[in-house]
């Protein structure tokens, strides 16, 4: 039976838009890599510690990576961890960093720029920059994103190399995330958490097993698990995540589930109709 394809499109569109507007919150089971990432920040970092958050993705994978960045930033800020933001992805990493940081910071009015967090902007040549930062971050990023020299920013006074920080979080779409694990962690020992897109997540399990990573948020699903953990631990963030209009991984995951189920339902339906309406004598194939 032929259904007008527009009916299918309609279903898909509704299946996408409704969960974006109304939170459904289908249950998510927490997987160990995400739990590891959460525990690292929750239990092993103290108030006042520094975390480096690197935006290694662009607008094309923002639906997957942005919720991870948001959840990690919210978690850090709620716990009083100071955040240094950088961007290493050439195609729009900087604009993502600016957008997400501004969005999250607006939820925490008590935070001061230059004291509690700082955005150092984009640097070309990711791998070289990552190596150089082990020697001197001030040489890699002479100024922050606004052109202010680093020495004028209180937070950066005591940060020179990876040794002055407790954690690196990379939200990655390409190979840059792998470099954090197999280059920065391997050579300089700083713990690394990576949030890759779902497509590249399988590669990262090897690094996780080799203890080169302290946690892994695989794609939208990993992000939604992290959101669940954060919401359960911080009532204030639960409120934030209940804000209508805010795009979260939980919503994204709902959309994924629903659209997948719609497609499966249509396929199954199509086959049932096909078998019931099939003429008795089987055609030779």
């Amino acid at each position: 039976m032929q259904i007008d394809r527009r009916i299918i499109y309609l279903f898909v569109a509704i299946g996408t838009i409704l969960p974006i507007i109304f939170v459904i919150g289908l249950p998510v089971s927490i997987t160990p890599p995400v739990q590891m990432a959460f525990d690292r920040i929750e239990n092993q970092l103290q108030k006042g510690d520094i975390a480096l958050v690197s935006f290694d993705y662009g607008p094309s994978s923002a639906p997957e990576n942005a919720p991870m960045a948001d959840a990690i930033l919210r978690h850090c800020f709620s716990k009083g961890i100071k955040v240094v933001v950088i961007a290493l992805y050439p195609l729009g990493g900087l604009s993502e960093a600016v957008n997400e940081v501004n969005k999250v910071v607006a939820e925490f009015p008590e935070l001061k720029y230059g004291v509690d967090y700082v955005n150092l902007g984009y640097k070309d040549g990711a791998q070289a920059a990552m190596k150089k930062m082990a020697e001197n971050i001030h040489e890699v990023f002479p100024t922050d994103v606004n052109g202010t020299p680093l020495d004028e920013l209180p937070i950066m006074k005591n940060i020179r190399t990876y040794r002055d920080m407790k954690l690196v979080v990379s939200l990655a779409t390409g190979i840059i995330g792998e470099w954090w694990a197999n280059l920065v962690n391997a050579q300089f020992g700083i713990p690394v958490i990576v949030g890759p897109t779902a497509v590249s997540a399988p590669k990262y399990y090897a690094y996780l097993e080799a203890k080169q990573m302290a946690g892994l948020l695989g794609g939208l699903k990993g992000a939604s698990e992290y959101e669940r953990l954060v919401v359960n631990s911080y009532p204030k963030l639960a409120e934030v995540y209940a804000t209508p209009g805010l795009y979260t991984a939980t919503k994204g995951m709902d959309v994924q589930s629903i659209v997948h189920l719609i497609m499966i339902a249509f396929i199954v339906f199509g086959n049932i109709v096909y078998f019931t309406s099939k003429r008795k004598p089987r055609k030779a194939s």
Binding site: R5, I8, Y9, I267, G270
Partner: protein
Amino acid sequence: MKRQIPLLLTFLAGAIPTIAFFVPQKHVGLVSTTLDSWLIIVAGFALLLGVVNVVQMNTNKIKRQASGWPYAIVLLAGLAIMGFFGVAGAFDKFGGIATRPDGSSTPFDWLYKYGFLPLQGTMFALLAFFMASASYRAFRARNTEATILLIAALLVMFGRIPFGEMVSKWFPLATEWIMGKPNMAAQRGIMIGAALGAASMALRVILGIERSYLGLGKGE
């Protein structure tokens, strides 16, 4: 002559990187990389070939007032605006084509961000709809092959969502297994075969047997 020179050129140009692949001598590598740098420029020149064709076709359309000619004006307008700022940017007018040092957009960059990117993103987003309609139509258990296709697709789709995991732990595992073993095996087979086919095609081109791309016909 008209036929032989291009074939000789192809042969020579094809031999250079092949030799450079095996011989690490500096000058051999240099010949190869120099040629490479030339060809990047040739490809750059080629774009204008396309632009000339587009302008020709669309001005013709407007002249003849062929059906849909107003759209040709829109097209040319888009081309002219963006092209103008692009060329001007090359002469360092309007601050080039990227963002200015203070973070503000140059006209070219602005058009890119607010014209080009959203349109591109929207086209890309259409894919999800098309996947739904294609899967509905194509995944029918018509015969053995189609049934295998259908089952593999359903299993993987189900195993990718949390719902599948809730039903049984085995769905994500099965998905991973299918992707990692049979899928990988088939992809390898395709890749090996296709790489051999491509190499054979390449050999035919270098030897001048395959020459239709030059418009030289098949005869010898």
